[in-house]
């Protein structure tokens, strides 16, 4: 029904327009009006509209600054964020000056110099001095922009992360997982081949390797058993192919095993979901890894963004300066939370791939971290439960 209405309305509108056009064309024929001859009235009208658009455009811009300016660039909650905001302010001052100045000139010229019959334009093909000036002046200004910008950039990038708390943020469609080092203050090595339900980040340990190998062998065995039965050719091919793939992957896991035998550094790592905490006033080094596609860790309040790339580790160092509870007081909003968002399109639920970030006082942070269980312990617990269940059966 709606479809018919839409079609009907469009059709009627087109017919109405066509009729209007015909009237216009017939009347211009009578008045001997030619399209290429722009009348004085039209020139004056458009010239005045140029002036009107100057004021309404500026009005529109100023209205937006007044009503939405307060929400743009929410207060920076990190040390380098304050530097970035300073750089922003410097650039705004420059940009708005140029923006208002050039537009004023443009629209005023457009208004003032509209066609006047009987007059001629001023023949002014070039002026080397003038052109030289407006090459040099922007160059000098830009030199300032570049220098100030690069000083800030280098300051941000120079942070070494020595003595910082290292936290890994692991991304996959469509959630984040955080990992903290345990008592040894060192994140354990990880490999994607070891990722499983109980080891979501693929942390390397004798236990996780053995578990994975067992799983792979089991899968190969079951597939080989399947091959014993009578199958259509294409299915048999598929299963054989999948056995070969698993065998190749298994060879790679065996390689990990020989290279990392006895590795313990990952055993006490803490794996956290839902929200993660960081202490105020302490440098935090984030390491980013991805399991599937490119994601991007974006925390606008901390002026932090870094892509997270499969097969690679990226990093960003920052120092939070305002705790969550302080910010809640400042904003007078008890529900406020810092947020980590995904900012590289990664699939249908991209828009909701988020995690809350809590900035604690150092004491609260320590308390919270102590409450988190080391990940291996958790796995073993689960295994014990499973064994128990098997025994019960």
């Amino acid at each position: 029904m709606t479809r018919i209405f839409v079609v009907l309305i469009v059709a009627l509108a087109v017919i109405a327009l066509a009729q209007l056009m015909r009237i216009y064309q017939l009347s211009s024929k009578v008045r001997n009006k030619k399209e290429e001859e722009i009348s004085d009235t039209d020139n004056r009208l458009n010239a005045s509209l140029m002036l009107v658009s100057l004021f309404s455009f500026f009005g529109f811009v100023i209205w937006q600054i007044v009503s939405y300016g307060p929400y743009m660039l929410p207060e920076a909650a990190s040390e380098h964020g304050a530097d970035i905001d300073q750089l922003f302010s410097f650039n705004w001052a420059l940009l708005f000056t140029v923006f208002f100045a050039v537009h004023t000139v443009l629209f005023v010229f457009a208004y003032k110099y509209h066609y006047r019959p009987g007059t001629k334009a001023y023949y002014y093909p070039h002026n080397n001095k003038l052109e030289f000036i407006w090459t040099i002046v922007p160059s000098v200004v830009l030199a300032g922009v570049i220098i100030f910008g690069l000083i800030t950039w280098n300051k941000i990038q120079k942070a070494t992360g020595d003595g910082a708390i290292t936290i890994e943020l692991y991304s996959k469609q469509f959630d984040w997982t955080a990992r903290y080092s345990g008592t040894d203050n060192q994140l354990g090595k990880a490999n994607y081949l070891l990722v499983s339900g109980t080891n979501p980040l693929g942390i390397i340990s004798d236990h996780s390797i053995a578990e994975r190998l067992a799983e792979m062998e089991e899968s190969i065995d079951s597939k080989e058993r399947k091959l014993q039965s009578i199958l259509p050719d294409d299915q048999a091919d598929e299963i054989e192919h999948s056995i070969k793939t698993t065998q190749r992957l298994r060879a790679r896991v065996l390689d990990i095993q020989t290279k990392n035998a006895g590795l313990k550094s990952g055993m006490d790592d803490k794996v956290v979901k839902g929200e993660f905490h960081i202490p105020v006033g302490t440098e935090v080094e984030f390491l980013f890894r991805s399991q599937d596609v490119i994601h991007s860790a974006y925390m606008p309040h901390f002026r932090l963004q870094m892509n997270s790339i499969p097969g690679d580790v990226t990093r960003f160092v920052m120092k939070p300066t305002i705790t969550t509870s302080e910010m809640r007081l400042k904003l007078n909003n008890p529900d406020f939370n810092y947020v980590l968002m995904c900012n590289k399109v990664c699939g249908a639920a991209h828009y909701n791939m988020q995690m809350d970030v809590i900035v604690d006082s150092p004491e609260d942070y320590k308390k919270w971290l102590d409450e988190q269980k080391p990940f291996i312990a958790e796995t073993i617990n689960e295994e014990q439960i499973e064994t128990k269940q098997l025994a019960d059966n």
Partner: protein, 593 residues
Amino acid sequence: MSSVAEAHAHAHTGHTETFVSKYVFSMDHKMISKQFLITAVFMAVVGMMLSIFFRLQLGWDGESFAILNAFLGDRWAPGGVLDKNMYLSLVTIHGTIMVFFVLTGGLSGTFSNLLIPLQIGARDMASGFLNMLSYWFFFVSSVIMFLSLFLESGAASGGWTIYPPLSALPQAMPGSGAGMTWWLISMALFIVSSLLGSLNYIVTILNLRTKGMKMTRLPLTMWAFLITAIIGVLSFPVLFSAVLLLIMDRTMGTAFYLSDIIIAGEVLEQTGGSPILYEHLFWFLGHPEVYIVLLPALGITSEVISTNARKPIFGYRAMIGSLVAIGFLSFIVWGHHMFVSGMSPFLGSVFVFTTLLIAIPSAVKTFNYLTTLWRGNIVYTPAMLFSIGLVSTFVSGGLTGIILADSALDINVHDTYFVVGHFHIVMGLSAIFGMFAGVYHWFPKMFGRMMNTKMGYLHFWLTLIAGYGVFFPMHFLGLAGAPRRYYSYSDYPMFDNFVDLNQLVTLFAILGGIAQVVFLFNFFNSIFKGQKAPLNPWKSNTLEWTTPVEHMHGNWPGKIPEVHRWPYDYSKPGIEEDFVPQTVPLAPGEEEH
């Protein structure tokens, strides 16, 4: 007419033409340019409609719209609510269509084809056959891109930049299946089209100029198209290789872009590749592409502004110099799209430097435009309005580019709505304004009829209001931290203050759509019913206005005119008329310029 010239003219018009050779497989540059334009207009309508569909969702999150259901059906808009995967497909195909099919194929294809032979004084393009192939590759690739919207698993949906692994793995999202395959095939054909066209443009401009048409007497349109074509020839092959490697990763089990991936529960064997390689290859085209889109628009505007201000373009040589400088710099700035990709911070600094350098030739161009208007005698044709609009959007959008070029600032606004606002103003609006200026200005040359001026005015003012209304507020959204390509913002309390602004943007987008209906009506109506065009409607100096209104093969009956002066002798002192066509010899003692 001398007998030789008569024989010549005869040779060009004498053979019989069938419908197919005249309208379909034509090798005449004027017909090919019309074919490009009509195809681009169709694609633009599609692109615009897609954007209104997803703007409805962004303005009124999760609400039901009968129109969405009417167009997208129960599969992609069940109950009138846009599907999440379809949302991403719409965004992706909107971007692809607008950037490549409308503003590259449509803008360059239409006006390079129409104007190059006419403005340099040539009978046709250097190779009419390659020119025809260029259009038909474009046509087929347009058809494939359009039809991909109707695939059962949906069109490509990883954003127009199609970063792998998302685009390489069919398991990653439905759009990465058949939709992505179609996208890649379409783009491969598009690149072939673009290369055939560009090579032809370069060869024609360099070799087929008429007597007296020195490079320093070329209209700025020609310079802009020449540099655009050179940029295209040097950068599109790189995209082709990126696309080829992606196809191999998708179908042959290679690992150029893939490493250590588990997708949909499946552990992939590929290891050692890097998606960052793809980003480098893509943006090596992707950034020059911005200028492939923008330079023709700047060329057209230079011509239109000078003609309608009745005044020579100020600083002709500086205008050429800045075109060349922008063209050169465009090749060494691609890394500014990758500041937060984990690229070496030092390399980032280098790209900050080179990127900000582009502001200098851009500033020169802006000031030269302003000076051209100063003490001019401005005739407000619709083309002139759009050209002045372009200067405005070029400034507004260019300035925010300074923020994005600054790596430290980019950290916080990268991939947010700030970027969306920026490039839609500087590249989208500017280029489309340039394209409209070109259509209004050269419509009489293309179709032998005039467009309706009054409707042109209405079209311009509505488009200007809608354009700024849509894209200016986006900067504020971005600065508040709103990421682009989000289906919904409702789960983030920090964006609650922007709900009404998002609705305002959508309303302006709809207004923009209505404005284009005015244009479409005027365009098609004028093709058939417009007033007959005179020989030189805008009292312009360039050569195309010396050709007969009725199109003919070979463009000029008799000899090709000789050129004696630059194209910008408007309001020259000592001459009664306010224009002097390029074919008029210099008076004794008259200085060229």
